[in-house]
Amino acid sequence: MTVINFLINEVFVEAPVFLGLVALIGLLLQKKSGAEVLEGTIKTIVGMIILNSGIGVFLGSLSPLTTLLNNSFGITGVLPDCFGPYGVAMQTYGVEIPMAFVLAFVLHLLLVRILPFKNTKNVFLTGHIMLFNASIMLLVGRSALGLTGGAQIAFSAVMTALFWTFMPAIARPFTDPVTDKRFTLGHLQTLDLPVGKWFGGLAKSKRADELELPGIFNLFSDYTVLLCVLMPVMYIIIGLTAGKAAVDSISDGGNWIVWLIMQGITFAAGIAIVLYGVRMFLAAMIPAFEGISKKLLPGTQPALDSPVFFQYSPAGSMLGFVSCFVTMVIFTLVQVAIGSPVVIFPGPIFFFFDGALAGVFGDIHGGWVGAIIAGAVIAIVINVAALVTYPFQAEFFAGTGLMFGGGDYLIWAPIFWLLKFIGGALGLAA
């Protein structure tokens, strides 16, 4: 008994070890060779420690910026993101997140198996999004219902399983004609599809690929490069607005503009580190999930990451991304102008991937003008979703300037608020 207690209370509560254990099971289920199982497990454990150090790197560059905003303008600036908040959440919920993630997958397979609907026959396989889902649902359970421990994990697992089951089902009518029923979308970006079809479809223009787009657009097909270009710009804009004196008061001396640029690049570097850490774990888990679902649920469509759709309109994805970015910048400026107490910054992961996906479907249904319209509309959807879900995350992410974003949470927000109302009525909320 002492050995088991020791393992449970001292060893498995270490997040990297627990994650390694989950990966180990995933690799064993794939019947990998001994060497590969060992390699994958070790890489997952190391990946988690790499991830932890990445958090320090980008928080170190983000917190001066949020301090600047608070001190100079008296506003709370939040950056909706995914990898950053996930890293922060893992520091508190290092065991709870992977537990909810695995449990939710089991529930998800069960739901797909028993639900009679044709459109729910999909298996959600976008691993990083799955981790983000499990994380935000843990936060909602805590904030809305005051849940902790096992109940919090169970709540997250159920909500997350519902998300993975129903969001791809919403995507199916839009993706089936495009992918010939081979795969569908498994993401936080499901709303991109109706937005692309309904708003983008309002336009009647020639397809985006018939236009000649300048080569500079290609630079932005790599996420790290994109962050390294845009984050320094964002830092400089905020720095210039706050003024040299304000920046000097929080910097380490040296030229203030150079300092702002370096902070922006450091942020990008931090995210790149976190990405690397996440990749190790997912490389062990997702093939296992895929193998299991193929065996248990033959004939289901895999619900995949959004870039698998970019091939249907590479130029549309670029237009959507640029239009989404511009709209988000305008959104932020309007918020500042009207003195909004919470200001949502343009989240690079969203205008990059969401903007692109909306652009693809906008282009398919309405040509290049459709792509631009869809990018702009989805920007508003994402930022409004951020505003209505921020109250569930504000306390947890206080001081980091981060939050979990995602356009699809706009559909989930009413449920979150209903739970909060129930939680409040029952006196549960923390």
Binding site: T126, S221, P287, P302
Partner: protein, 101 residues
């Protein structure tokens, strides 16, 4: 022990579609009868990571660029197993020849 072929799959972040490609390529390599170790990665990492073959999408190919000593092949869709198999075939055959397999 037979020599392993090192293959890197590249997508925008290195954890979405490149991971799906990894599973498909694992199957393809089994058909070819060559053991392979496959890593999913982003464009930047792929450049600095020694491998025998880099597989990416036509959209990302300009970002990966030329890698001295390593062939880079691109497919329109990572989800199309037949397309993957065909672009990989000449390189896998060459790897087999080089290593007397």
């Amino acid at each position: 022990m037979a020599k392993k072929m090192k293959i890197v799959t590249v997508c925008g972040c290195g954890l979405g579609s490149s991971l799906m490609a990894k599973t498909s390529i694992e199957k393809i390599m089994k058909e070819f009868g060559v053991t392979a170790s496959i890593e999913a990665s982003d464009a930047g990492t792929a450049k600095g990571y020694p491998s025998d073959l880099v597989v990416t999408t036509t959209m990302l190919k300009p970002r990966v660029g030329e890698i001295p000593g390593t062939p880079v092949v691109a497919v329109k869709s990572f989800m199309n197993v037949d397309e993957l198999r065909e672009v990989m075939r000449p390189h896998v055959e060459e790897f087999k020849k080089k290593n007397n397999m």
